[in-house]
Symmetry: C2
Subunit: 418 residues, 2 copies
């Protein structure tokens, strides 16, 4: 019964895909503008639906932070609609000729950029993701199958209804955006195995969701957004710069994936640096989990002993694991062992150490003398972002529109055989 | 116990990866030349090991075709060694700067091409794959974990020993090539889930192997090489050209993935085309599995009725499924439903139909008026090929050295915080 439900959605998506592949940029932009218009016109309806979700959340004792993430008001609906303009203004990667050549036998081989096809997006509570993700899929001629969290189901339904109506009014297949209204966990699991109809799965959410996709999916997954990011303060670091970068990376927004979770310090600078760093982070009451040398230097009873598990943890909180190391090599080894491959930083004035670090650290973004917080589609000037890939296949780091496309070889001949 | 065995291999690979990432092209080329030299010097030893495998194969009643695929003689060892020169001559994609920019805040963002890391290759009986695959991994600064079939285990051991010895002599980590000597199925399954140590899995072999990887792996998989390829003969086709292309695509080498498995013919040309096509393919005793209209036109009792399953099947044999259709659209829909996304061809003189076909057919390589047999790394001038990707993530179609790499962002700052 459920398998039938999700298979039917897959079939509708596949049918829409065939039309989506032939759309012009103008058609897609007109539809996006129309979505923005209808979102504004339906603000009351959307807020009303959202109220059901927030009321349920209050009843279920959800935390205030989470309720705030879930809540939509007029300003937020407007800002969701505004964000569509950014997508309209992005260059369309579909149809780009990547390259090609004439073979000695006279075949013309053309490598073209084409949409991925049907993209499954599994995400958690923030309803703005529903529109953001759908808009990027539409702009790249993909079909989006959206599966949001059950806490936001009423908001998501209202938003999806508006988008589908706008697509229809613009003459595009409304099935370019399909929301899975059944929020049973079983449906999500079946979706992850729908290889006949879904080309790629992009989970957007916490480590648990990502892990569940990687473990269960047979559809190719792009892992996104878990960041156990490191700042390594080398012996030659400018101390003020190091304190500044660490403070920014750790405390400017601890709940995001590009925030620092772990500090490594060269032994030669640890005695000077650690007390200053501790003092700075104390302003935000950051909890320290340190190695024995860290504890000895800081002589602070409040510093807990860091365990193996701590070094692996993405805290997403005012918490940091700390380790004193004896060399850049040791820092690199530690990072490559514990990191999730998101973003790492070395603070140094040593040219060789900077190069060694950027060459050997196996992460999507490796910084010399700058905060890890810059790993972001906007900061990287991609215009918009569907997520930050922490795996190495297809896309690495912030993913924009181009990362929602693939290529196809088109070959023109005049009867060639081999 | 087995998990310990494969985890240990993973750890050794990871350790080698860190060194591999810093090798220069010259170091890698020197090592490849040395592998070729040692392969020639150890020809007798390799042939002796191979004899154990072929003798076992005879005992186990393996087919002659398979034994021929397995067998190594002096000429074949030489040709394996020769193939290394091709890899030496390929441009090294590692270290290429893909692009970058200065942000308004003064961060220099550089997108660099870097190795994937550790590549797991699971392959079937042909021992030349052992060296081919390892050489491409070495040249792209990757570490290869090779898991070949048990029929070729003695040959593979001998070849891997020689490669490791050559790496060592050249000052490279011998663990850049690790052969899994335990051929238990369980080990392969564990390898597919070794996410901490393997970055990507590339299966090379039949549909069963590929399916098993897609079903079981949690490590990202690049699906390769299953080809249910179609030739569609449009109403406006040049009949002689169509017969020629079909014959070449079907009969020049039926056992390969770019061979044609299914023929679609427009109804308006079917009466003229089908008898000529049948006559031509009869020269190779090709078995026809046709739709009712095909059977009616050919009035041939020997033509079997094609089932749904037949249209889905990659025969890899002198067998073809055939269907008469009423439009290019119907052909496209049929292909997108039954194809494995490898290679498809339209034979036509109609410009619009050619464009519709290349735009809507959702496969890696789409041909107008040329045989599907051209989908190949060599023919596409990639120099060498690790496989032909039939999925859409990361790589699509023939994969060369570049497809064994990923990118990394390196960001240079002078204290920037966000």
């Amino acid at each position: 019964m459920n398998l039938e439900y999700i298979t039917d959605i897959g079939k509708r998506a596949k049918a829409a895909q065939s039309v989506a592949a032939t759309l012009t940029s103008k058609q897609k932009n007109d539809a996006l503008v129309n979505i923005g218009k209808l979102l504004r016109e339906n603000t009351d309806k959307i807020i009303k639906a959202n109220k059901l979700d927030t009321e349920n959340a209050v009843k279920n004792g959800i935390s205030e932070v989470m309720i705030d993430r879930l809540m939509l008001n007029e300003a937020r609906v407007n800002s969701i609609a505004d964000a569509l303009n950014t997508v309209v203004e992005l260059a369309d990667p579909v149809g780009e000729i990547e390259g090609g050549q004439m073979t000695p036998g006279g075949l013309e081989i053309i490598k073209k950029r084409v949409p991925l096809g049907v993209i499954g997006i599994i995400f958690e509570s923030r309803p703005n993701v529903t529109v953001d993700a759908a808009a990027l899929c539409i702009k790249s001629s993909n079909v989006a199958i959206l599966r949001g969290g059950k806490e936001a189901i009423n908001s998501n339904k209202a938003l999806a209804d508006v988008m589908r109506e706008a697509l229809k009014q613009s003459g595009l297949p409304e099935d370019m955006v399909i929301l899975i209204e059944n929020t049973d966990r079983e449906i999500a699991t079946q979706m992850m195995k729908l290889n006949d109809y879904i080309d790629v799965l992009i989970p957007r959410g916490g480590a648990g969701l990502i892990k569940s996709c990687v473990q269960n999916a047979t559809v190719p997954v792009i892992e996104t957004g878990t960041g156990n990011c490191h700042v390594y303060v080398d012996a030659s670091a400018d101390i003020d710069m190091a304190v500044n970068i660490l403070n920014n990376a750790k405390t400017s927004r601890p709940s995001v994936c590009n925030a620092c979770e772990s500090l490594l310090v060269h032994n030669d600078i640890a005695k000077e640096f650690l007390p200053l760093a501790k003092k700075k982070l104390d302003e935000h009451n950051v909890v320290w989990l340190g190695c024995e040398r860290t504890k000895a230097i800081l002589c602070d009873d409040e510093i807990l002993t860091a365990t193996e598990a701590d070094y692996k943890t993405e805290f997403l909180d005012y918490k940091i694991s700390v380790k004193v190391v004896d060399s850049t090599e040791e820092a690199i080894e530690h990072i490559n062992r514990y990191s999730t491959g998101h973003s790492e930083c070395i603070v140094t004035n040593n040219f060789q150490n900077a190069n060694l670090f950027t060459q050997r650290v196996d992460s999507a973004a490796v910084y010399v003398n700058a905060s890890t917080r810059f790993t972001d589609g906007g900061e990287f000037m991609l215009g918009a972002e569907i997520g930050i890939s922490t795996q190495k296949l297809h896309a690495r780091g912030p993913m924009g529109l181009r990362e929602l496309t693939t290529t196809k070889y088109v070959i023109h001949g005049n009867g060639q055989i081999r």
